[in-house]
């Protein structure tokens, strides 16, 4: 018993915890299997904690305020129901009016909502919202903010079902809105699949200036960022149906509205709350593509409309001639912003914006049956106008004279102009094209647009007098950097085909028959003549150029061109022809931001303009008039049949 003896001899002394542990360890080496199991448990715990840590830090669905990346647009895209809530809670001061509804609500542009209803609007739309979401969102807004105007999009789809329909995290709502359990909410998002976080990290590396499918929201307005959709060139119907095959073979089905009662009851409660809060309530049923609208069972639609108007009056835009124009839609339930603009102009009775005459009816209990009697009467109308846009470059006095490669003789040009006049063609101006699209002002009979690229002196010397004499109009797209240069290419020794000067441009503009617009300031460079730096033969981003540098360059270039031309000619600048006909979405979007309303490409074919659709003025097609063309060939170019 030596052990016991020793214990007795030694006076009891206080041991620290560590010492105790150490002595224990020293006495008994741990079983390796046990040690492994304990370390496994520890590792498991740590690894499990890794997921909430990752989710908390990357916050891929916007549940925790995205502490590191603050990438609201991404979070909104992942789950607008959820991610918009903390954002708007921080920005209540900036907004006093809201628009609520499913994703089609996104096509009601903020500026047009504000023009129509006043105030400062925020779009609280969310994916697939039904009246359950709408009421929760309205209550959330009315509880927390003094709301001036509340616009509800009551499109038919909102009455298909009622309640939470989707269980995935992309559809989960915020506890502040649906009153769900906060702890469960937090746990759910903390332990979300790590793939969400990985996707976000991957997307970070691919982020660009324009939106992509992972960051489609414009944070300030709460709506989809439509910069890309709004510059998509739209022309002929055939091409559109090719690009959007959904309209070609629209699937057949019958859609029932199963939640009419709940919808009407919810609207009743919202109306009462708005009345108590002094909030103006506007209920809109947005347009749908006709085949989609006809799929809703008529008895359900009638029940739904009459239910809604029994509560409050309703702007019904669902079916009109606009519904029959696929180009107003990018899928059956999502219309383009310009149609949203038109319907808001209809509400405001804004004369400056064109809209179809049968677009929208203010329905109330009195006129409901009358409205219903004519509900399905809408039919397609031709809302388009086609014209040929002719593209010229340089002119020479006679065959064999020096000039640029694309020069044609004055004689040919004059003959063609005379042909136009004799055959009843009207040479239209850019303003007329714009007025047709924006105000619906009809174009004259047999419209044709004459354009010149580059700004050669020959345009001034030869073309201008002919146009003036015949009373015709033309647009010249001049390159800023070479304006007025008659001998050398910019500051080099290379010879140049002479270009007209700002003074000459001003003279032509003042005469009223020529408009001088931009062909960029210096993005139509000729590589062999350039030295150093990034060379741009077209408006596109050069190889190896960073997106940021490119955007800055494009902006500066256009701004320089615009300032010099406006200063030099006194004419407003709003059109541009793409050098070499090259363009892409990014260049279109940047130019749109810089105030360019019409752009011209070199895609050949008839230019088709659509009333109300401003993007039909994007990348307008032009037909090049080649040197040596016979008059018959010229007539064919104009679309005349022999």
């Amino acid at each position: 018993m030596p052990k016991r003896k020793r214990k007795k001899i030694q006076p009891p002394q206080k041991k620290s915890l560590w010492a105790k542990l150490r002595s224990k360890r020293a006495r008994k080496p741990m079983d390796p299997a046990r040690r492994w199991c304990l370390s496994f448990g520890l590792c498991l715990l740590l690894a499990v904690l890794l997921i909430p840590a990752l989710n908390l830090l990357t916050d891929p669905l916007g549940a925790f305020g995205d502490p590191i990346f603050h990438w609201d647009s991404y979070n909104f895209t992942q789950n607008p129901r959820l991610a918009k809530v903390p954002w708007i809670e921080e920005h209540f001061d900036d907004y006093d009016s809201y628009v609520v509804g499913p994703s089609s609500t996104s096509s009601l542009p903020k500026e047009d909502l504000e023009k129509t209803f006043g105030g400062s609007f925020y779009n609280m739309m969310s994916y697939g919202a039904n009246w359950y979401d709408i009421e929760n969102t309205c209550n959330f807004l009315l509880d927390r903010d003094e709301v001036r105007t509340l616009v509800i999009n009551a499109f038919f789809s909102t009455a298909r079902v009622y309640g939470k329909t989707e269980t995935s995290l992309n559809y989960a709502s915020h506890p502040d809105v649906d009153g769900s359990n906060r702890l469960l909410f937090t746990l759910r998002f903390l332990f979300a699949s790590p793939r969400y976080a990985m996707d976000k990290l991957a997307a970070l590396r691919q982020d660009t200036y324009l939106q992509q499918s992972f960051d489609v929201f414009d944070v300030e307005s709460g709506a989809y960022d439509k910069r890309v959709r709004d510059v998509e060139p739209i022309g002929s119907l055939e091409e559109y149906l090719e690009a959007y095959p959904v309209f070609k073979d629209y699937p057949e089905q019958t859609i029932r509205l199963e939640a009419v009662e709940e919808a009407v009851a919810a609207l009743g409660r919202i109306r009462d709350r708005c009345a108590a809060a002094g909030t103006r309530l506007v209920v809109i049923c947005v347009p749908g593509y006709w085949e989609n609208i006809l799929q809703y069972a008529p008895e359900d639609v009638h029940a739904y409309l009459s239910g809604l108007v029994s509560v409050t009056e309703l702007w019904d835009f669902s079916l009109s001639s606009a519904s029959y124009e696929p180009r107003y839609f990018y899928d059956a339930t999502h219309f383009r912003n310009d149609l949203g603009r038109m319907l808001l102009a209809r509400i405001a009775e804004d004369e400056t914006v064109w809209y179809p005459e049968d677009l929208g009816t203010l329905v109330n209990a009195e006129n409901l049956e009358e409205h219903w009697a004519g509900f399905y009467d809408a039919a397609a109308e031709d809302l388009t106008e086609s014209l040929t846009v002719l593209m010229y470059h340089d002119l020479i006095e006679r065959e064999g004279d020096s000039g640029s490669d694309v020069a044609m003789t004055v004689h040919q040009f004059a003959q063609e102009m005379v042909y136009l006049q004799k055959n009843g063609y009207h040479t239209v101006t850019l303003d007329e094209l714009k007025a047709f699209v924006e105000q619906g002002t009809p174009l004259p009979e047999k419209p044709v647009l004459i354009t010149f690229d580059d700004g050669y002196l020959s345009n001034y010397v030869y073309a201008y007098p002919i146009l003036e004499e015949l009373g015709q109009h033309a647009v010249i797209f001049a390159i800023g950097a070479t304006m007025g240069q008659t001998e050398h290419y910019k500051d080099t020794e290379y010879p140049i085909t002479p270009h007209f000067s700002y003074e000459q441009a001003a003279e032509m503009v003042a005469a009223g028959c020529v408009s001088v617009q931009s062909h960029t300031y210096d993005m139509h460079q000729w590589e062999p003549y350039e030295s150093g730096g990034t060379i741009h033969e077209t408006i596109l981003r050069a190889e190896g150029e960073s997106e940021e540098d490119y955007i800055a360059l494009l902006r500066t270039d256009y701004q320089t061109s615009r300032e010099l031309l406006e200063e030099g000619t006194g004419e407003r600048q709003y059109a541009l022809a793409f050098p070499g006909g090259q363009y892409d979405t990014l260049s279109q979007a940047i130019l749109r931001e810089e105030g360019v309303e019409l752009t011209f490409s070199t895609r050949t074919g008839e230019a088709v303009l659509v009333r109300g659709l401003r993007q039909s003025l994007c990348a307008i097609k032009r037909n090049n008039v080649a040197r040596g063309l016979s008059l018959d060939e010229f007539a064919a170019l104009l679309g005349e049949e022999n």
Binding site: A33, L46, A47, L50, T77, S103, S193, D199, K200, V216
Partner: protein, 517 residues
């Protein structure tokens, strides 16, 4: 409820808790309760089938053992009585096996067969598809093995029905195998070992390793596989071969991963299951491959088909006659080859009833038979050239050869039909279009670069571990000496599993969510 579901994890956890709570003599009942509960949860119809099969096996076993006992008690001289009893035994076993495999056939193959006949002959009718009870093939084979063991007298039939029922239905192995032997399993199930640190370690390691193989590697590879096999007409031969390679990876990681998890769970519950895979990548011949791949099935077929047939009196007679008629080496080898051929035919059919599986069986049978026939020639060749067949190079050659043979076989088992499989093989040989591969088609198969990197690293890790184990290295012991590294690896494995292993679920890819609106 699959092995990789929350439900299964919960069941295992519940099992562990209950085993801890109940006294030792009740533990087997806990396992039976969980197993039956698990199976009943999967569907009452399948549960009824399970009960019926269990009942059949139990009754047949009892009867066979009783007959054995009577035989043993008989006077040795009473030949007539012995013969009569043996005949009854034989009839009993035959009846039970016919019933058992009849059920297997009815549920698994019948509707497919009638549909096939309908297509072939235009009968105008076919049986509607019955439900296929989960794990039916496994527990039928297991029951058949038990009955044959009882017949042979190798085991004495279980007296208690519930104990026997546990042998049939033990839940970790019920759905995915391995096919257990009564002699190995029953004593363990009757008295499951209490959980120790050692068994916990082994179990958890198996589960972790298996889950990594299945969830991180196999489920990812499956995306590429279904893309290429599903749209093989769109791909050139090189891409198709890539698809087959991914399928090999998927199949091995999926199957062996699942079995590892099954074995791990069984370990935790105190039961040691047999190994089902022994590093098949290192097989030096196709025969060797089938001894390493799905071992429990191969062993079952060897013990309950190959030997009984080749040692049976009638077959001996046939082979003797064949030897006499053909003479020489061929006559000697042919009888064995025929049985071998039959076994691989059954292996093929085991996988499913369609034509491609038959072709798969024929393919394996032909190659192995050809191998047996060519063996003496090869041996002579090696001796004449002075080639050492046991050398490293020859082993490597054997491995490469086997890999190629297995690789080609994999065209058959996964393709939509035999015709598609042959078309894919043809394309691989005649229309490789390697430009497809070099132009980055690999990244357009539904996986990101990250996913492909994970598969690549995962496969390397599996190969490394298997190579070391094949060499006989004690990896566990080596790591025991480097505890820091081991902890780091454990943590990494768990982190990878949690971050990259949850491949399915309610997640909607980023690019998908907006496209709906």
């Amino acid at each position: 409820m699959g092995i990789f579901s929350t439900g299964f994890a919960a069941l295992t956890l519940l099992g562990l808790i209950l085993l801890k709570l109940f006294p030792a003599k009740w533990r087997w009942l806990v396992l039976l309760g969980l197993s039956w509960g698990f199976y009943a949860f999967c569907g009452l119809g399948p549960f009824a089938v399970l009960l019926a099969v269990t009942g059949l096996g139990y009754a047949a076993g009892r009867r066979l053992s009783a007959l054995n006992a009577r035989l043993a008690a008989l006077d040795k001289g009473d030949k007539a009585q012995t013969e009569a009893l043996r005949g009854r035994k034989k009839r009993t076993l035959a009846l039970a096996l016919v019933l058992l495999f009849g059920a297997l056939f009815a549920f698994k193959y019948l509707s497919g067969l009638t549909a096939g006949l309908d297509r072939l002959l235009g009968l105008g009718w076919s049986l509607p598809a019955l439900f296929v009870p989960l794990g039916l093939s496994y527990y039928c084979f297991q029951s058949a093995g038990y009955m044959i063991d009882c017949y042979r007298g190798g085991v004495t039939a279980e007296r208690s029905f519930p104990r026997y029922a546990l042998f049939v239905a033990f839940f970790p192995q019920l759905t995915e195998g391995p096919i257990g032997r009564y002699g190995d399993l029953a004593p363990q199930l009757a008295d499951p070992k209490p959980l120790t640190w050692e068994s916990a370690k082994t179990g958890l390691q198996l589960i972790l390793w298996g889950a990594l193989k299945k969830l991180v590697i196999a489920d990812r590879a499956a995306v590429v596989v279904s893309e290429i096999y599903g749209n093989y007409t769109a791909y050139g031969g090189v891409m198709i071969a890539v698809g087959v390679l991914f399928y090999c990876i998927q199949l091995y990681c999926d199957f062996s991963g699942t079995i590892d998890v099954v074995r791990g769970v069984a370990y935790l519950l105190g039961v040691e299951l047999a190994e089902n895979f022994r590093r098949p990548i290192f097989a030096v011949s196709l025969t060797d491959y089938w001894r390493r791949w799905h071992i429990s099935l191969g062993a079952w077929l060897r013990d309950y088909m190959f030997y009984p047939i080749s040692l049976s009196r009638w077959y001996q007679k046939i082979s003797r006659r064949l030897r006499k008629r053909l003479g020489g080496r061929f006559g000697k080898i042919l009888p064995t080859s025929l049985v071998t051929f039959l076994i691989y035919f059954v292996i093929g059919v085991w996988h499913g009833s369609s034509l491609k599986y038959l072709a798969f069986g024929v393919y394996n049978g032909v190659i192995i038979t050809a191998g047996l026939l060519a063996e003496p020639l090869f041996e002579k060749f090696c001796v004449s050239r002075g080639i050492d067949r046991k050398s490293r190079d020859m082993r490597a050659f054997g491995m490469l050869r086997t890999t190629c043979i297995v690789f080609v076989g994999r065209y058959l088992t996964r393709a939509g039909s035999l015709r598609a499989a042959l078309a894919m093989l043809w394309k691989t040989v005649r229309h490789p279009i390697p430009s497809q591969f070099s132009s980055g088609a690999l990244f357009r198969l539904g996986l990101t670069g990250m996913d492909l990197a994970l598969i690549g690293c995962g496969v390397l890790a599996v190969l490394f571990v298997e190579a070391r184990t094949e060499r006989g290295d004690d990896l566990d012991g080596a790591l025991e000496r480097r505890r820091g590294l081991r902890t780091l690896l454990t943590f990494l494995a768990l982190a990878v599993l949690l971050l990259f292993g949850v491949f399915r679920g309610s997640y909607i890819p980023t690019e998908m969510i907006y496209q709906q609106f």
